[in-house]
Point group: C2
Chain length 268, copies 2
DNA sequence: CGTAGTGTTGAATTGAATCAAGTGTCGTGG
DNA sequence: CCACGACACTTGATTCAATTCAACACTACG
């Protein structure tokens, strides 16, 4: 029922609206919790990590006008499937994974997206998403129709600049993963992954040393080119070494420097 | 003398200019061989694969005005090192590889760039190139200063659109490699790589079935996360199966369909 | 409270790496 | 033009890290 294949998209009209309802009607004036659907770019807690960086108030308003804030997604809801490209999405709360179903059946995870990050740039070139995106937990997003973003970028130099930067950052990130997958051992991959998640949480103001992993060990394995078993074994091994503590999906990084030493250098 | 580390950059004032000299002074009117330094975007054989797609003549002229056509690079010359970002580059002839020197010393190749392809997008986000780029053979490029490209993109919607597409294509490509590295066997990686090179040559009008590889087996190995020995063995094995013919770096694809069958699906 | 999905652990297997010893190729200088 | 030296490439034998196969424990939700 909750598998990737047969979940109904966006079927949360009755169920999931409850926790959001209370915020719907207020016009927010200060930065709001990003779970809120009533948030605007100007009031969003994440606006300095997202497209609006360095935009004036008036410019932000123009961006705000093209942003669509859909109802929230629940676990296993698809944000998009491998299909027509229309928008890019900014994660406001929760998390997503993107994946491709290889012809041989089994999927491979191509990315995880946490709050403040942008999904869907894989569709820009071909006007077709190369992968599918699915919520790992309750999540909300801002949808930014691409053609409108293009038009607006012509008018707002800062927005164009920001979007170029975001695309460039995605390229840099993907190339870092390339290096990781082509040369790191399983232990290095896991250490790198944990450090990467850590700094991504830190970016949005959450603890870089204690966090919850929204994805399964299997997801992590597919992402890093390892099997579930290997991921599990390494979590255990790193815990035994005292570098991390693992309680199911609750992770604490106890010795970041030693994790960095394992990786040798950069994070994921 | 010709190693990555100690080559002098751009020291080809006397040596390499000879083969280009003859074209320097003519004002070209029809599409020229891309080796020519006298080429303009309007007359470039590759203009329909590059930034100018769908630009009007006047627009193309404006783009042309910001493009710098440097003197050619010879084998092992660096286009840029892991350092300050200023420009992106379009390969006009020859080929380049990009690589990072991992902290543990040994480098990893992150990409190969053939004529009609764009290098340097890894520097957009941080204003610092994440990797270094070096010529694999005699090569020439068009340098496009990024800040000028940004300015011009604000004025020319088609140019902005093209550049978004090019960035998006790089992202899609990198994610495909992610899948390859995280789930393909050595044989699948090599088959995928050869098919990928094939279609990239086809794109610029060269034979998709007989081509020259500008990179070493070692480069291919670093790129695909394999050792030289494995690459070599698999070239031999695929030849024994009759799927390819290998003569040093001259490759012929004899049975593309069977190569595709090995990969299972998409190319690199 | 049962069932499906998730996670752990152990033992056996294997694909690719490593180690090792060559041969082939190309550019350079004598 | 040939000989030299530096890379580039190949092939074989051995090793090892991670996968595969297998059995079981946890947990969380309907």
């Amino acid at each position: 029922m909750r598998s990737i294949d047969n979940s109904t998209e966006l079927n949360n009209s009755t169920l999931a609206s409850s926790e959001l309802q209370d915020n719907r009607s207020n016009a927010p004036v200060v930065k709001l919790c990003p779970h809120s659907a009533g948030v605007s770019c100007g009031s969003c807690r994440l606006n300095e990590l997202c497209l609006p960086i360095a935009l004036s108030e008036g410019e932000m308003q123009q961006l705000d006008d093209i942003v669509e804030r859909n109802r929230p997604y629940k676990k296993a809801d698809h944000l998009y499937r491998h299909d027509e490209f229309r928008s890019i999405f900014a994660v406001r709360s929760g998390s997503f994974k993107t994946y491709v179903l290889s012809s041989s059946g089994s999927g491979r995870v191509t990315g995880f997206y946490l709050p403040g990050e942008i999904i869907g740039m894989d569709g820009i070139a071909d006007r077709t998403h190369a992968n599918s995106a699915v919520a790992l937990e309750h999540a909300s997003i801002c949808e930014i129709p691409f053609s409108q973003l293009e038009s607006l970028s012509l008018k707002l130099p800062s927005l164009q600049h920001n979007f170029f930067s975001i695309l460039g950052a995605e390229i840099t990130k993907d190339q870092k993963i390339h290096t990781i997958l082509s040369s790191y051992s399983a232990e290095q991959r896991i250490a790198s992954f944990l450090l990467g998640v850590s700094s991504r949480y830190a970016r949005v103001g959450l603890s870089p040393t204690r966090f919850h992993l929204p994805m399964t060990r299997g997801d992590i394995g597919e992402y890093l080119g390892l099997t579930v078993e290997t991921v599990s074994r390494l979590f255990t091994a790193l815990q035994k070494k005292g570098l991390i503590s693992v309680d199911n999906r609750e992770i604490a990084l106890l010795a970041k420097d030693e994790l960095r030493a394992i990786v040798g250098a950069d994070e994921l």
